[in-house]
Symmetry: C2
Subunit: 333 residues, 2 copies
């Protein structure tokens, strides 16, 4: 095999904003599979906001990426060779193979992806981790009831777009929050949410209030920052907030103060953070339920595919700044 293994390594830990100086593009010979391992060729790499946390050494739910190590990430790959005989060359598999062209991993633990009519990239987005995150946060934590107002931030994103559509199927009135008129139009017209408010526009808090004349019963939090500040005063008694992430604050060197929590008592609020990997059974549930909706085209999703692994750092920086539109995937060429 003549091709080298292109890899993106973590060069340094960002203190604030992530920049190109925190990554290193490196080439190495492809790994040689050890006994029991298969050699994989990544086809698509998923870029997700949680990766910002892995770049820091701060205590979190997962160990950080080591300096000099390959950046972590979920990938859809094809088997290049499998000396164990479990897989055929060309079989599709899903796993955390990282920001690199080739990887050698134990064949026994590999999860095969069947070609079932949904595009392979959906395993990284609408039917994968982001979609399952939306499923858990909406149905288990935010729990909108028919007639209630459900608000989701980053509404055009990989998680928010699915969360709002699930909430609508649960009978809620869905109000999205997104950045810019183009994303808001997509949320209203393509995703069919009742309303979408542009958090970059003037008088955002006033317009959100106007879009939620009966207050907010359930909020799916992806963003934090100014969006969170505008949402909290609108929460109704017995309101539920599912905390999925706060991407607007990931580049902050110091955490900003949050809301005073006495309102939790006054309004009997429930605020719950979650991480989808704590809900392992939800992945198959959602693939079954959401997969049906993808195949019958009743669940809408949008993907932005960036060509070339060397573009991954720039695309990731854009993701943290809200520049992507829909699920961000890198095509590994």
């Amino acid at each position: 095999m003549a091709e080298n293994n292109l890899r993106i390594l973590l060069r340094a830990r960002p203190e604030g904003r992530v920049g190109p100086e925190h990554f290193e593009v490196s080439e190495a010979p492809p790994p040689a599979p050890r006994p029991g391992e298969a050699l994989l060729r990544n086809r698509f790499l998923s870029l997700d906001p949680y990766m910002r946390g892995r770049m820091s050494a701060a205590k979190s739910y997962s160990a950080p990426v080591e300096i000099g190590a390959v950046m972590e990430g979920q990938c859809v790959a094809q088997v290049e060779e499998d000396p164990t005989g479990r897989f055929q060359r060309g079989d599709w598999v899903l796993g955390g193979f990282g920001w690199q062209r080739f990887s050698a991993v134990p064949a026994a633990g590999l999860r095969k992806l069947e070609e079932d009519g949904a595009p392979m990239t959906t395993a990284l987005g609408v039917l994968g981790m982001p979609g399952t995150t939306a499923w858990v946060g909406t149905t288990e934590l935010a729990r909108p009831r028919p007639g209630e107002t459900f608000v989701v931030s980053a509404a055009s994103g990989a998680v928010g777009s699915v969360a709002g559509q699930i909430a609508a199927r649960m009978g809620a009135r869905v109000v999205g929050i997104a950045g810019g008129p183009e994303k808001c139009a997509f949320v209203r017209e393509e995703l069919g949410f009742g309303e979408c408010v542009d958090h970059r526009g003037e008088d955002f808090a006033e317009r959100l209030r106007a879009a939620c004349p009966e207050g907010i019963d359930a909020y799916f939090e992806n963003v934090g920052g100014a969006v969170q500040k505008a949402v909290f005063p609108l929460l109704n008694d017995f309101g539920r907030v599912a905390f999925c992430g706060m991407v607007a604050e990931y580049n902050d060197a110091e955490p900003a103060p949050g809301p005073n929590l006495m309102q939790l008592v006054r309004k009997r609020l429930s605020l719950r953070g979650f991480i989808v990997s704590d809900h392992p059974r939800a992945f198959a549930d959602w693939r079954r339920i959401g997969g049906g909706w993808v195949r019958d085209r009743s669940l809408r999703y949008r993907e932005e595919v960036v060509k070339g692994l060397d573009k991954a750092p720039e695309a990731f920086m854009g993701l943290l700044a809200g520049k992507n539109f829909g699920k961000l995937v890198v095509e590994v060429t």
Copy 2:
């Protein structure tokens, strides 16, 4: 009847600290029962932190007390006369009869208190609203499991003292937080909590950390402020916080910022506010369960009885400053 009706009225709404200028002591003839009403003589008035909220016009879960109206409060009273014939003179009843000596209320809705061996004042404290609050917050929201670390602030108070004892019965290791060495000694020695940390002492945060070597799994929040700031970093993954109140901040004119909420995601925390009146069935449950523990003397409690209704404003100001010791009750003379 020669006696006048001594009443404490709300004279003005406090913007910050509550002072004597916000109350008016007034005398009026006793009310004349209208058809269907009984005339009651209050014997004991309960003073509770939630009353601070009723003095403000800010939106809350209950309407505020009107300027010039009698301050609201739960009382144990005796029937003075009941023209409807439902009650005998001298019967004991429980209800929100207010900061006054006499009241005339519909006899049909009155809740009679049986003399069952527990002192009448316990209906205002350990077996009443504060005890039921501890029961709901501990068993339904904080939900400590055997071996977990349960922390409660205002641990010597009417709610905290009961919450910690319930958590201990649920198998948790209980750490109290209280103000001053005398209260801490009571919490350790009388209530039998494993530890009690004085939040007024130096290095409070360090000493709390040392008292919770395995972190905090469940926290019963009564105080807010600096105590909350010290507790949050110690919360373990999947930690639960029951928000009952934040008395240290009730006199603040502006709400102070709270903790950054990204930690909810990282640690998968659950933060829930509650108000006991949303759990009406819990009152009878707790009176049955807690009543058994009071009668067999396995549940410890402490009451501070202040003599004279005219002392109520001063006693209430002391309550907000943490000067009381145990459940604060005014004996209406």
